[in-house]
């Protein structure tokens, strides 16, 4: 962190005006570079992502999923870096595939839920008035639903449950807070002159919303989505841990942790569930640190650099 020599007010104003022209991407990068923890988080996360997305190409997945009763619950060794599970399958391989699935699904849920929240928030805030009133009363209700329990109930009810229906269920129940956040900003945005000017010129509402108001909210959306990504990965692995998440055909990190429900595995065979738990912790911490850096970058008053 470098400390700047104090400058007089005028110069500061000029500097600030110049900094406003820097793109959001560059601001984020500068903020991450200035924050040691965020930088470390970014490096660790990149390494995890690389391993999770590249290694599966070199693994014979059919072979990895095959059970081998000659090597049940083996301790970590040179052959099996993290030992084996009750079916004799290599934990490390499952960890890699699980991490890939969990992260991919977390991202998918975040994007879909983010899109829903963005659209509904934009419509509510941009149109205001009656539309806003109706949507807000609906949101008041949706916000107080016991979300986690409802997700579990939906998972049980849905016929032909698979990864896609899981993503759908999660997305449908996880956008409420986002919509409210976007709406409050869109409400302020619609009073601004550029929106009025565009309206006078006869631009259709949907164009103003998507091409003029949305870009001004994009930093808010990015910040919010990064921070909820960590949460969504947590919810997914948690549900899978309880047995109401990803189907067995798609192993998640939660699948490995679920083994810990047997007291014997929990107490004596830590290599089965502990690495996956720690991996989730590390991933979530990294995402949060990066998310906080992005958050500071989006708010000029909080920037460190």
């Amino acid at each position: 962190m470098k400390t700047e020599i104090p400058v007089d007010a005028e110069e500061a104003a000029v500097l600030k005006a110049q900094s406003e022209h820097v793109s959001f991407g560059k601001t984020i990068w500068r903020e991450i570079k200035g924050d040691k923890m965020a930088m470390i988080a970014l490096i660790i996360l990149s390494i995890i992502l690389l391993i999770a997305y590249i290694t599966p190409f070199f693994i014979d997945q059919v072979q990895a999923a095959r059970t081998n009763f000659m090597q049940i619950y083996e301790k970590p060794s040179k052959e099996f870096w993290l030992g084996t599970d009750r079916g004799g399958r290599d934990i490390f391989v499952q960890l890699v595939i699980g991490a890939r699935n969990s992260i991919t699904i977390g991202v998918a849920i975040t994007l879909i839920a983010g899109f829903l929240g963005l659209m509904i928030g934009l419509i509510s805030g941009y149109f205001g008035g009656k539309v806003d009133f109706v949507i807000m009363r609906m949101l008041d209700f949706l916000m107080v639903l016991p979300t986690l329990m409802l997700i579990i109930v939906f998972v049980v009810i849905v016929p032909k449950f698979n990864v896609w229906s899981f993503i759908g269920i999660m997305s449908i129940l996880l956008w409420f807070g986002k919509a409210r956040l976007i709406r409050s900003r869109a409400l302020a945005e619609r009073e601004l002159d550029y929106v009025n000017a565009s309206k006078t010129l006869g631009t259709p509402n949907w164009k103003i919303m998507l091409f003029e108001v949305f870009p001004n909210l994009s930093s808010l959306v990015i910040v919010n989505m990064t921070l909820t990504l960590a949460g969504n990965i947590g919810i997914e692995t948690g549900l899978t841990f309880l047995g109401f998440g990803l189907p067995e055909s798609t192993p998640s990190l939660g699948t490995l942790i679920a083994y810990a429900q047997h007291p014997d595995v929990m107490e004596n065979k830590w290599w089965v569930w502990l690495p996956a738990s720690l991996l989730i912790l590390v991933v979530m911490l990294c995402i949060n640190y990066i998310g906080q850096a992005i958050k500071r970058a989006s708010d000029a008053r909080q920037r460190l650099t």
């Binding site: 008041d140 209700f141 107080v144 639903l145 016991p146 979300t147 986690l148 329990m149 409802l150 579990i152 109930v153 939906f154 049980v156 009810i157 016929p159 960590a230 947590g234 919810i235 692995t237 948690g238 841990f241 309880l242 047995g243 109401f244 942790i257 810990a260 429900q261 007291p263 929990m266 107490e267 830590w270 569930w273 502990l274 738990s277 989730i280 912790l281 979530m284 911490l285 995402i287 949060n288 640190y289 906080q292």
Partner: protein, 322 residues
């Protein structure tokens, strides 16, 4: 003021009704009905007999009539029969409800015991090493999923050190009402409570810290200092009075977190409460119990939010929206 409270209470009624309709329709959409579960593996069950029973129990009536019956019974405290346990849902809930309430209370108290001092320290001496440590702790507690933290706590303190029991809410060999019973109960509560509380503090700490930092710079605080009020008193009398009141009001909102947390924590520590019952019932497809539990939790959240809104509006009149 009164109109706000009345209006807030009136808003709650359609919310509760809507919630009950949704839960009822979900329960109807669940595969199979109560009878399928009850007669599974029963050799005397035949299609004709089951159909007759369905007709008698009213399962073939239009859904709104069934809904009307369900709601009227529910309000009167009759939540139907559990078809797996073959007993009334209410009697099934009895003990577990008090267990969950107890666990939620201890968790909430522990959260405040940790969060309020830490929030004050971080706010009063912001940017000190203590503040930085507290902010780092916040990062960790936000990022850590409840179930992973609970598992690691159970592994370390339950299995590795064997300091605390690893399951149930009390040692069943001890007689109810004795001192040992109380000790055993308390002992069983420690791990589940700490697992929920240690990572549940972030919201309160963050709020308190930001609020104190903001209030510190306000004019009335400067006035107090200028009058010569000692620094300690500036905090206890002037700053904390403003910052702590909203914290008290957030308790209602915490209910939402406690409920979803209880589902994980109770299943991990096999603590016989509502969360564990929910998971067990949904695994055995015991839908009367499931819908009763979702309804109770939903109602708890709705009422909690309402109480928080009302308390907050009394404490801070700016929030009142008419």
């Amino acid at each position: 003021m009164l109109t706000f409270i009345l209006r807030r209470i009136l808003v709650m009624i359609p919310q509760l009704l809507l919630l009950s309709v949704i839960i009822f329709l979900l329960a109807k959409a669940m595969p199979g009905d109560a009878l399928t579960g009850a007669f599974q593996g029963n050799p005397e069950a035949n299609a004709e007999h089951m159909e007759e029973l369905r007709e008698k129990l009213g399962f073939n009536d239009p859904w709104y009539e069934q809904y009307g019956r369900w709601v009227t019974n529910f309000v009167q405290g009759d939540m139907g029969m559990s078809y797996v346990h073959k007993q009334k849902v209410t009697s099934l809930l009895g003990n577990r409800l008090s267990n969950t309430v107890l666990l939620s209370l201890t968790t909430m108290i522990t959260i405040y015991l940790i969060a309020i001092p830490l929030g004050i320290i971080a706010g009063r001496w912001n940017n000190s090493w203590a503040d930085k440590a507290i902010v780092t702790y916040n990062y960790f507690s936000i990022a850590t999923p409840v179930f992973i933290f609970a598992l690691i706590m159970l592994f370390i303190f339950g299995f590795y050190f064997s300091w605390f029991p690893t399951g149930r809410s009390v040692d069943i060999t001890i007689q109810n009402g004795t001192w040992d019973y109380f000790v055993s109960k308390a002992n069983h509560l420690v791990l589940p409570t700490l697992s929920g509380a240690i990572i549940g503090t972030a919201g309160t700490i963050q709020y308190l810290r930001n609020d104190i930092i903001d209030t510190k710079l306000k004019d009335f605080v400067k006035t107090a200092r200028a009058k010569g009020v000692p620094e300690g008193r500036v905090y206890t009398r002037h700053i904390l009075r403003n910052s702590l009141l909203p914290i008290a009001a957030f308790m209602g909102y915490e209910i939402t977190l406690l409920i979803s947390g209880s589902v994980f924590i109770e299943s991990i520590f096999s603590y016989p409460g509502l969360g564990q019952l929910f998971i067990q019932s949904i695994q055995t497809r015991d839908f009367t119990v499931v819908s009763a539990l979702v309804m109770i939790s939903g109602a708890a959240v709705i009422i909690g939010t309402m109480l928080s809104d009302i308390i907050l509006s009394i404490v801070d009149p700016r929030i009142r929206i008419d």
